[in-house]
Symmetry: D2
């Protein structure tokens, strides 16, 4: 009979100190995500989750984490479902706090800039929830949402130097390159921000975007728009910072922009954060 | 003449907000590192560095970061040299704060557990320095050191279940696997901790280690020691937490252990931190 | 009007040599895959595709590759659909040959070894098709299928050394570790092999598998089975080689096994291939 | 005494089939490499090596691979040393053939395009040797050398579309991006090609290069040169193919170019190979 088997996790540990987070990482599973524009996507998530561990317990049951999660896989994922799962984990696995992260690729149908073409573009996104007690409160629930947005950055300095070349009867091409904005926001209590809204806010801020299908008329329009909007990594960061800060429901944010320079082997980067008390801080290693 | 060329970084930005960190990432360079046991290693670092940016400046000169760094490449790298470089960066590039990270692979000659064999083992390490003004103080210098240590973790639960099998006249092998401890410490002011000391403290705490050369006599001894020291990820974390906390010169620490389970496709993880005010916090996304 | 725009791809190149393969890589898209056990999975593929380029054409239209592919996204993917797409690409983009690769994660519901638990496990898989003319034949179509299977390898040598320890009144744990078999097969003409069959053949051959949900009764059974089946990387390779070679519909195969040693920082590997004329050859850099 | 310990590798395997390659991967070690311009670099290699395995032997001694390699670590690495090591491995470990791969980062001092600045740039390189018997010959030795060269690619189509914009009184920026050429050559018997020569040949062919230090005068010159040399991935491939094919001592070659498009999330790629009998073939999965 099963209950005869030894259960060593229940033992007292030889070193009695608590551990901040214990759990599993890299669990792959199917899940459903609602689209802002109607309907649901069937997606694949890479999940980590766990609890804290008090000083007197040797270990948690890792398999109970997975079994607790299982019944929720058919329900559309949102902040409220994550809160439910976290409460359930705390109850089943033990611990006074619990945490959970979903990382996944999320598709948006992307129209070409001019021609009449559409094709999905996948964005790396994440949800992260934390449930923990605070002074006098049994359950504080913090919810984080992240997106990575690719854009093209055209160098303003190189642009000026090309203009200068033209005054000398010569000609130049300003360098540009693939660039990424990695955005993480903390949502205000009981607020869900559509991933589509986060992505669109960032894309509006950086202007020069990648497209799945580019015909010649599109390529020309992309080049025309680019010439109007050269941006240093600092410019891109300022634009995105303001755009994200202005989204209703965003309580705190941290952003990393990385320009994969075509004329360097290194990247130009900028990291910025809102700067609220006990909030994100780029010096503390995002 | 050069000074005729436009310098658009000096312009005022259209959005006047400051940026926490601006710089470069993924600069590869040669450097020298002193060994605790005498002599110097010639190594290759992957470097990021930069400054903050005040609200009224459009951008920094990225190339000035590299040019500032260059004269220091022949000097042995330590916390004091990093502080000097950071002061120089702040002076040459501008900004009230500066930061710098070195990531590299560091060799230690590893003796086999029993046989008379030696071979180098490389450890992923990092140094990180931050220089910034604080109330009334022009220059606070924070210094961080990191190491990643591989070990083998043998499951105590599986071990107990194998013992139970033997009572039934059967036999079992407890599962074990490659495991990693990712350790980051903040050093006390003007303190340098030998990387060898960080690594050895962690290795003593986890006991079951990888070796470059393993003859049969070694393999038997490894198996013998393993049977005395099964560890959950929670056990490994507790052992390492105490070991790192006890190192003189460590002001704060955060540790992530990851066990790459042989019987799962997911990892068992634990994250722990000292918990001092304004210190590391695993819930804030290391 | 669009046709006014210059189309430089039609120019003659300055260097008139042919190119073996030209195309795009890392296109993400949704697709449907039939399950052997009924029904269809909605999955995400990472796709590369292209054509050869004759010596007198400057370049291909990359966007035409994507536009050609688009109408096929709603149809269930199989070898015959890939052949259709490749014929369409050759017609629309030009070239006498075309190629296409789909890489994706494919779920199989995995039952626990003893307890009554089920959870999906995702496998990295790939399809690859090549269409090209051969002597007197307009269209040879080669089709390749790949899967990566994780398993646990328990060291037979360590096992023997532990048995020897017991004869001396001592005790040891044989080391084991996460291991992977990367399998690529060429299918016989007009043959489709279920990915489930490839995966199951490999899993039967290596015996010790990972499971999503492992309760104590499962963990004990896993340990019991492990003790009956220790395997070197060479043993695992021989078992898998025979198992894959025996699958009906497999014309050629190449396999790489990698054991992520818990007592080493390096991996033990084996690479094997069938050895038919003009077939796979591990010495030619898979 | 050691010889009492069981040695199970000597057993006969239950399945008597040979294995093409058995060995270790991901061994890190220090080594010396001669520079074409005088002196030696102290570098770090990631090494794989092994032998074939005949049908009647259960396994090889992995630790003997490392111990065989060890005495050679102080000698400058070249094709002849690799051949010596391979002969030694074949003798010590057994097997009729042996193989070995060194992957490492190799520095070249890079001068800025105009200003008087110098800084090292690291290139990913590899050496690969294979020793095997052929009809009537005990030892054929094949030697391969690889380099990865980064460059900037400026799109000729986008350029033409920008010129067209100007005829309409508007303005555009042609897109460009970080690009890579991954080059692998087989050297003629007893021929060593300086890595510097391979890299310089490729860099001359693609023209637009990254630089560690770029002042404004450099950035302008880079833009000026770029405007003279737009290249599709097909153009870059043709230029490099001819350049590498012309290097004395190159017997066979295969090249992959990848342009990390700034206006796409996918890469434009080209793969080309010389096409000699039994030589490299891109359709056989490099």
């Amino acid at each position: 009979m099963i209950t005869d088997l030894p259960d060593i996790q229940q033992d007292k540990p030889s070193i009695t100190i608590p551990i901040g987070q214990v759990g599993v990482e890299n669990v792959e599973l199917p899940f459903k995500l609602e689209s802002k524009y109607g309907g649901f996507h069937q997606l694949i998530a890479n999940v980590s989750m766990g609890t804290n561990l008090d000083k007197d317990t040797k270990g948690i049951s890792m398999s109970r984490l997975i079994r607790t999660l299982k019944p929720y896989l058919d329900l559309p994922l949102k902040h409220k479902l994550i809160k439910l799962i976290l409460e359930d984990i705390r109850e089943n696995v033990g611990g006074s706090s619990s945490f959970m992260k979903f990382e996944f690729r999320f598709p948006i149908i992307k129209k070409s800039i001019k021609s009449d073409n559409e094709f999905p573009l996948y964005y790396k996104c994440r949800f992260e929830g934390q449930l923990y007690p605070n002074i006098n409160i049994h359950s504080v629930f913090d919810f984080y949402q992240g997106v990575i947005v690719q854009y093209a950055s055209y160098c303003p300095c190189s642009n000026e130097l090309c203009n200068h070349l033209q005054t000398q009867g010569s000609n130049g091409f300003p360098h540009n390159q693939r660039s990424f904005a990695n955005i993480l926001v903390e949502s205000r209590k009981s607020h869900y921000i559509w991933l589509e809204d986060l992505i669109e806010a960032a894309e509006l801020a950086v202007i020069n975007l990648p497209y799945p299908i580019i015909k010649r008329e599109d390529e020309q329009e992309i080049a025309r728009v680019a010439a109007q909007n050269p941006m240093f990594v600092e410019d891109a960061m300022r634009n995105i910072s303001v755009a994200i800060n202005d989204i209703k429901g965003v309580r705190d944010w941290i952003i990393k922009c990385s320009h994969q320079e075509s004329i360097h082997t290194s990247e130009a980067i900028a990291i910025n954060w809102k700067g609220i008390k006990d909030g994100f801080d780029g010096r503390r290693f995002i």
